[in-house]
Subunit: 294 residues, 2 copies
């Protein structure tokens, strides 16, 4: 499969926001498709993506896009997956390939049953390349370069469809990983969903505080910490709904860790605090080094 190039006569993105737009733009720039079509529930967003040259043609509906394309990428918030599967199912044939970019995979895989016999041609995917920006204006043809794209095929996923989507992500510069959907959701709850939830809770804490001077007393650390709260609200609501159990498990684990640290602070245990901070600094440095080598 390595080195196999990707080409689709017509590729459609359903949802022309930041992720769908970046995918469309990356495909166009690298000539990976003859035409790139787009559909979006917001007519204004769709027109904007067309104006920006991110898509070649605007489609009337998800079904229209699926009817006209060979490879269809669902890039709407994951909460809309069930509805979109139902919408595109009638337009799918034995040769078409459907994939998605949702941040939660087990529920999306379950919802794919709505595709009936075409469920085999659905390749569940997740490019782990979030940004706090949203909308077609934030599209970037190189968004996925050196980032991971995780594919979570189901037992009956068609091998050919899987191989073609894998080559699509490789052509966009991504590293492709494969794992099962449950494992994906467990790991992402820790690496992505938990930090987002904590940042939201932090800003909530901030907003409810009665410290008048708080706005003046923020430094860079606060902005780094809370950057993710600028992300798309609807997308993050859906993620919390769709990966509830794993997110709650990680919140529980975090609360234990924070409670232990609070106890060390309470009993003024300098040694315990210093060793936790030193270990965290080292862990993060190792992670950042691994990431830089990707």
């Amino acid at each position: 499969m390595d080195g196999q190039s990707f080409y689709a006569p017509a590729l459609a993105v359903i949802g022309t926001g930041m992720i769908g737009g970046s995918l469309a733009l990356g495909v166009k720039r690298r000539n990976l498709a003859g035409r790139v079509l787009g559909a979006d529930k917001s007519r204004g967003s769709l027109r904007r993506a067309h104006e920006l040259g991110i898509i070649d043609e605007m489609c009337e509906s998800p079904r229209d896009a699926a009817a006209r394309a060979d490879v269809i990428v669902l890039a709407a918030p994951a909460g809309a997956s069930g509805e979109l599967f139902a919408a595109v199912a009638p337009a799918l044939g034995a040769e078409k390939i459907l994939t998605d970019v949702g941040s939660v995979k087990a529920e999306v895989c379950a919802a794919a049953a709505a595709l009936g016999p075409h469920a085999r041609r659905f390749v569940p995917g997740h490019p782990v390349a979030g940004k706090e920006h949203s909308g077609a204006d934030a599209a970037n043809a190189d968004l996925f370069a050196r980032h991971n794209a995780v594919l979570t095929p189901m037992p009956d996923t068609d091998a050919d469809a899987l191989a073609r989507i894998e080559s699509m992500w490789r052509a966009l510069g991504a590293n492709v990983l494969q794992m099962d959907a449950a494992r994906h959701d467990r790991v992402l709850a820790l690496t992505s969903h938990l930090p987002h939830v904590l940042a939201y809770a932090m800003v909530d804490c901030f907003a409810r505080s009665d410290e008048g001077a708080r706005a003046e007393m923020t430094a860079g650390g606060f902005y780094d910490f809370t950057r993710t709260t600028s992300s798309d609200v609807e997308m993050w609501r859906d993620i919390c709904m769709m990966n509830r159990a794993e997110i709650l498990r990680q919140i529980g684990a975090f609360q234990s860790r924070l409670g232990e640290l609070a106890q060390s602070i309470e009993r003024a245990d300098r040694g315990a605090i210093e060793s936790l901070f030193a270990a965290a600094k080292k862990e993060r440095a190792q992670l950042a080094a691994k990431r830089a080598r990707r």
Copy 2:
């Protein structure tokens, strides 16, 4: 006081790390002192600061630096303040001015009693301009520009000393704010100390997880969120020790907020989650806009 320029025949920084080094470099670049002296408990760090041209002269000890300078800036981790006050006290005279840059103020103000009659010439200060980097190599002459420098004078702080330190920070490009030490510590516990503590607990959670693929599945959000854990370990240990009560209070408030959000997720309350996320996004955008206008 506005528009009054600052000049010291000899200015000393005790602690030539990132903050002390940035102050020294900023003073030199703007010709705010005849000579800039430095002292550091690490001889290697002191030599490095001298090699980099951050300081003009190396001093043998904090006392030596205090004896040779007119304005002395304590820029070592705040936990060392008591010891440093005792060390420099014998070298202070009626004309010298002492200030500091510690992130916690009430305990530092209390420790300043060790200065005896010279305590009036001590101006407690805190430039709110953290970076995750440390050491003289990270020094930046413009680090304080457009950042807040908070001064927390005590009832008997000398008005002339206060005015001169205020003009020093203004000359370095900072906005100067004044408030009492207790208020400073309360606000900073929320805006700075809490996010740091949460980031440490998050990385601790991560390090203890048994999810093997976790390193591969991190995206930008995780790195933004945990950037602050690369900060100086000793400095953050001291902050947790010196602002214990306020930090514990903020951890408690955060735990309540996180607990509420977890409950909304548990009962799948889409509306509550969405409105919390939307409010957080709006709050952060307003804060960032205020910050950009500084």
